[in-house]
């Protein structure tokens, strides 16, 4: 202690203060996030029903089963379809709505408030609401179809439609999010640029195509990444609305993992699915980040 310089004592006190301040967060994260990740990989090596004390070590058998498990890969494929269609539907729609609001300003505020509403509802509530709204009896679509002289429309009950119906509901839920996101993007462009463009004789369409869109590009890219990662983790809405069904039509990695673990009580195998989901989500996230970083360096 005696031989320490002033700088050393300062550094030491900084170190102590930093560890005290960081301790609670790090402890909670280790207990609830970091340790469980390792534990999941560990449990994936066992055959275990989650209740009994009997855990049988079976090595990589669960992993072999998972790699051969058509249902898991079908769920992964559903995740990918949702991911692609979410980007293709929500982001252009979000841009369109924000562009409309940007063009008309305060006069269309009522539109903005109504368009925003789905963001106030939780995924669970949306899932329940649409499970009734899309039902064959007492549903919205069926009622409209019957008004128009058609029959009952069973959107959630049959395999090929169910997934696309779910994608539609997800679009209903998340489009407002991207809309607000792009409204913020538009407000960063600033009035002067628009005025300068119009003075130069550009039409509104040309302004959008050649000025606004390029300036919104970084915002759109970030929105794509958000949508992408989110799509791989979807759970609440689909779990509530279809439970992955009919059959496996709308099964996702997350719902599959959940069913295996907490309905069929195959915790070992469920852990394997969870660990695989972790690996897939993390690698896709890393690949996308590296692609974007390569493309242009100034974008973080």
């Amino acid at each position: 202690m005696k031989n320490m310089t002033l700088a050393q004592t300062r550094r030491r006190s900084t170190r102590i203060a930093a560890s005290v301040f960081l301790a609670p967060v790090l402890i909670i994260m280790v207990i609830y996030i970091i340790y469980p990740i390792f534990a999941t990989f560990d449990i994936s090596l066992y055959k275990w029903n989650g209740i009994s004390a009997k855990k049988v070590f079976i090595g990589l058998d669960n992993w072999k089963d998972l790699i051969a498990d058509k249902n898991f890969w079908y769920a992964f494929k559903n995740n990918i379809i949702i991911m692609i269609l979410s980007i293709l539907i929500q982001i252009p729609l979000g841009v369109a709505l924000a562009t409309f609001l940007d063009a008309f300003g305060r006069k269309v505020n009522a539109f903005k408030v109504i368009w925003f509403l789905p963001l106030l509802m939780s995924s669970v509530a949306i899932g329940f609401l649409f499970s009734y709204a899309l039902a064959t009896s007492g549903g919205i679509i069926t009622t409209i179809s019957q008004w128009l002289g058609g029959g009952k429309v069973d959107l959630l009950g049959r395999a090929p439609h169910a997934l696309y119906t779910v994608i539609g509901v997800i679009a209903w839920q998340y489009t407002p999010f991207y809309m607000v996101y792009f409204i913020a993007g538009y407000s960063n462009i600033g009035t002067e640029i628009y005025e300068a463009t119009i003075i130069d004789g550009a039409t509104r369409g040309q302004y959008f195509r050649y000025v606004a869109l390029p300036l919104l590009k970084p915002v759109i890219k970030t929105a794509c990444i958000l949508s992408l990662i989110g799509s791989l983790k979807y759970f609440d809405l689909i779990y509530v609305m279809t439970g992955g069904g009919p059959g496996t039509a709308t099964e996702l990695m997350a719902t599959y993992m959940y069913k295996m673990s907490f309905q069929h009580f195959k915790m070992g195998y469920g852990s394997t699915a969870a660990a695989a989901m972790f690996i897939l989500v993390t690698s896709i996230a890393l690949i996308i980040q590296s692609i974007i970083k390569e493309r242009n360096e100034d974008y973080v």
Binding site: P36, L120, S122, A125, T191, S271
Partner: protein, 285 residues
């Protein structure tokens, strides 16, 4: 509302393309609004009234008997559980996040970048990868089916994004503020409580809204770690009522309206702030 720059631009001339745009805009208003109208209108109907008279028929009376039924059958229990969970988790989360963001944004030490990187890396982790061990831990610590067993997971999964947002926020506070306090004899701890914390109020309130909404809506852990009415939170109320009234759709609609209502009230009070808070999670991909 919304941080937009409205009314700055000249009025678009009414060309065919704008009429078309307006038409599409109205279609989207219908698509967005119809489920809400469906939900509210049917929540006032009787069980058979809804299916017999058509779902878009106005209810016979606006007497809120379904709401009374729902409120008297334990809805308040779920509601209170959610409120308690929210208050405790949020207080704990905001305090420890502020503590952690302080050294991460304003101190120099060797492991700083590593720790910050670790916290950021946790942002894109799917909750499901932790679910089974957390379930196991909760049961073995005798916290299964207890409301306070949900505090830990809720706080832990809100930490990464919150730390990221608050650290970037605190980094914008000028260095001089802290230095002058230090000259006046403030240590790191007093500095934090008397200088940095008050100056971070805006960032913390954004975090409170964002995390408040996500904790209020949290479903996976609540569904996995609780079982009885005494511990269930609001997101689970809907399925609980569905279990009891599976054929009575109007009652379920009333439950749905009641779960959305707090958010709508919050939106009316806070407007811009709520929008900003909801978007806070989008700061980084």
């Amino acid at each position: 509302m919304f941080s937009g720059k409205s009314e700055k631009k000249s009025r678009p001339k009414f060309k065919i393309s704008w009429i078309f745009a307006f038409f599409l805009a109205i279609i989207w208003v219908v698509v967005t609004g119809l489920p809400f109208i469906y939900m509210v209108m049917n929540s006032f109907k009787g069980q058979f009234e809804m299916l017999q008279k058509g779902v878009f028929q106005l209810p016979d009376s606006w007497y809120p008997e379904n709401y009374i039924e729902v409120l008297s059958k334990g809805f308040l229990r779920y509601f209170m559980n959610s409120v308690i969970l929210l208050v405790v988790s949020l207080a704990l989360l905001l305090f420890i996040t502020a503590c952690a963001s302080y050294p991460l944004s304003r101190m120099q030490f060797k492991t700083r970048n590593f720790i910050f990187g670790l916290i950021i890396a946790c942002m894109s982790i799917p909750i499901h990868v932790t679910l089974i061990p957390v379930f196991k831990m909760t049961t073995s610590l005798n916290m299964y089916d207890k409301l306070w067993g949900l505090i830990g997971p809720n706080v832990a999964f809100s930490i990464p994004i919150s730390c990221y947002i608050l650290t970037t926020f605190m980094a914008t506070i000028p260095k001089e503020v802290e230095e002058s306090a230090e000259i006046d004899g403030c240590g790191k701890f007093r500095n934090f409580f008397y200088v940095i914390l008050p100056l971070s109020k805006a960032g913390i309130s954004t975090l409170a809204i964002y995390n408040g909404v996500s904790i209020w809506n949290e479903f996976i852990f609540a569904n996995t770690l609780t079982q009885s009415k005494a511990a269930k939170t609001l997101p689970l109320a809907i399925s609980a009522f569905q279990g009891e009234h599976s054929m009575n759709i109007p009652v379920i609609m009333a439950v749905l309206v009641l779960t959305v209502l707090p958010m709508i009230i919050l939106f009316i009070i806070l407007q811009d702030k709520l929008v900003k808070g909801l978007m806070a999670g989008a700061v980084k991909g």
